[in-house]
């Protein structure tokens, strides 16, 4: 449904998108994940025909966005990062204007009105139909933006951070709405919120500094990174030798003290991937007479994967993910990266 091949976009000397290729099948929801300035918005703008690419090609619903932009735009609905609303129009006036622009000439006035009503119901904005766009809350603005993208019932929906600025309830509603659109629509959404991807998307493209660093399902990405099983163990009244003793267990690769509150000590225990060391750890702690207060698996979330992939200096897809830096180190790197390397948003 969407095919992007070797897409490159340069702004003068700055390369915003560098040789990006991916496909989106019909009815799929693809998550476009990356830190700010990674090139998500630029890629989406190329796909929607807002700007041409420097190199490469993009096809939407069978129409080349460069050669046949009008046809491609007719089958695309786009929600930009800031909803493109006219402040002095009411919601209904606005949707009428957009409807006139986007619906083919064959759609009459009555049908246009019924479409507008339908799309307002779908996005739960019917109660604001006569409110001026400038008077809407951020959540409603976002939903009017979504209504605008849906009005011509496009095959492809491109949503740039559709849940940004919404409150938790609205986020849940919006995600449910997006999920309900899958199947009949092909959706590409960008986000830097990771749970969003695992909750809404069937496939993820992780992009960093204009390059694709990974393309996979959220599940596969999580699985790939389970190179080692890691536990968090909190014990009470342990001696100073607790860490070496734990390391001595068969199958335990590494023990790191994470926190200490008086008698309570928390350890991160990394074990070989194929071993479940929880019974052994529990037995050891009890045998030693310490109190076992907490033991839980430290699972690699999409967050960790994301940070590992995007903080990897080589930015190379082929870098073996499982041998990435340990979790805590990754966190630190990422924090440094987030504060230091914040690129201006393209």
């Amino acid at each position: 449904m969407i095919e992007v091949q070797h897409l490159t976009k340069r702004y003068g000397p700055f390369t915003a998108v560098d040789d990006v290729s991916f496909r989106v099948e019909k009815g799929e929801i693809l998550g476009f994940l990356g830190p700010n300035g990674a090139g998500k918005t630029t890629t989406m703008r190329v796909l929607t025909g807002y700007m041409p690419a420097t190199e490469g090609s993009a096809t939407v619903a069978g129409h080349d966005v460069f050669a046949d932009p009008i046809a491609a735009k007719r089958s695309t609905g786009y929600l930009p990062e800031t909803p493109p609303l006219y402040p002095d129009m009411t919601v209904r006036e606005y949707l009428t204007f957009v409807g006139k622009l986007k619906l083919p000439a064959s759609v009459g006035k009555a049908e246009r009105t019924s479409r507008i009503n339908a799309v307002m119901d779908k996005t739960h904005i019917a109660d604001m139909a006569n409110r001026h766009c400038s008077k809407l809350s951020k959540g409603y603005k976002q939903r009017v933006g979504l209504a605008q993208a849906l009005i011509h019932d496009p095959e492809v929906l491109i949503l740039d951070e559709p849940t940004a600025g919404l409150d938790p309830k609205q986020i849940i509603e919006t995600r449910a709405l997006i999920r309900s659109l899958a199947g009949s629509h092909t959706v590409v959404l960008s986000t830097h919120i990771l749970p969003e991807v695992s909750q809404t998307c069937q496939r993820v493209v992780i992009i960093n500094k204009g390059r694709v660093v990974a393309v996979d399902t959220p599940d596969n990405l999580t699985r790939q990174l389970k190179g080692s099983a890691t536990l968090y163990v909190q014990v009470d009244a342990a001696g100073a030798d607790a860490a070496p003793v734990l390391s001595g267990l068969d199958g335990v690769r590494r023990v790191v003290e994470l926190d200490r509150h008086e008698q309570l000590v928390g350890f991160e225990v990394a074990a070989d991937a194929d071993r479940d060391v929880r019974r052994d750890v529990a037995r050891l702690v009890v045998d030693r007479g310490w109190g076992l207060l907490e033991m839980r698996p430290l699972r690699l979330s999409l967050e960790d994967i994301f940070l590992q992939l995007t903080t990897d200096e080589t930015g190379n897809n082929s870098a073996p993910i499982a041998e990435g830096p340990p979790i805590d180190a990754a966190h630190n790197d990422a924090a440094a990266a987030a504060s230091g390397k914040d690129q201006p948003h393209a």
């Binding site: 700007m51 735009k73 930009p80 493109p84 986007k102």
Partner: protein, 253 residues
């Protein structure tokens, strides 16, 4: 063309729901009213004098023609306010993303914006017709030169608007767009002044370039294709530049 009219309608509506549109219209009526009063007082004086010696004087020639020529001055100050927001505002608020990703061509967007601005300008001229109507109520001016005069004003305004649109398309900032448009209008007007000190050949060229010079024949009741073609090609050129500017912006991102 349907899309262009949709956008033109939206632009027109934008003028009438914003205070800006009403302020411009009010100022337009105020300035025109001032010129109307000044010319009328002068005309009354002149006709008194001419009654003492000689025949009556022509109201078209002594009143309406200079009055309509003064509209160029009003346009100079007020038309930048019509076009300055056309593109600048859409770029600033991000609504340009909606227009450029809708199944509409650049030409349709530009024509729509031009027609919208021209429509609002026509509404301004319609307001001034009230004053001219007063002359018809109390006197018997010739109506044909009035019609050609208004046609000329529409074409002259179209030139200003197409240039204004182009300038607006080059910036995000309304104030910059407005100020630059004003300066360019002024240059286009006073370019013929240089001609007075240059040789006659140069003067002819500079006169020809001046937007206002071409209006004179219209105000006299003459429709000369030379001037119509000048205005129409000027408008086309302005819209062409706008199109190139929008396209350039698109490539530069």
């Amino acid at each position: 063309m349907r899309n262009a009219f949709t956008i033109a309608g939206k632009e027109m509506r934008g003028f009438f729901v914003s205070p800006m549109g009403w302020v411009v219209m009010g100022l337009y009526a105020l300035l025109f009213g001032y010129f109307f009063m000044a010319h009328l007082t002068y005309f009354v004086q002149q006709s008194m004098q001419s009654q003492m010696g000689g025949g009556p004087i022509n109201i078209n020639q002594f009143m309406i023609r200079p009055l309509l020529q003064n509209v160029a001055l009003i346009n100079l100050f007020l038309l930048p306010m019509i076009t300055m927001r056309a593109y600048a505002e859409e770029k600033r608020s991000g609504t340009i993303e909606l227009l450029l990703t809708s199944p509409v061509s650049d030409l349709q967007i530009i024509l729509g914006k031009f027609l919208g601005a021209l429509g609002f300008y026509a509404a301004l001229l319609a307001v001034t017709m009230v004053y001219v109507g007063i002359l018809f109520a109390f006197g018997t001016p010739e109506w044909r030169p009035v019609v050609t005069g208004y046609l000329g004003l529409l074409l002259m305004g179209g030139c200003f608007l197409s240039v204004g649109l182009f300038i607006s398309s080059t910036t995000k900032n309304q104030v910059v767009a407005g100020a630059a448009t004003f300066v360019v209008f002024l240059l286009l007007w006073i370019i013929s002044w240089l001609g007075q000190s240059a040789g006659p050949a140069m003067a002819a060229v500079l006169d020809y370039l001046s937007i206002v010079w071409h209006f004179e024949d219209f105000s006299k009741g003459v429709i000369d294709t030379k001037h119509v073609i000048y205005y129409l090609s000027f408008i086309t050129f302005g819209l062409f530049l706008t199109m190139k500017s929008v396209d350039t912006e698109r490539w530069r991102g």
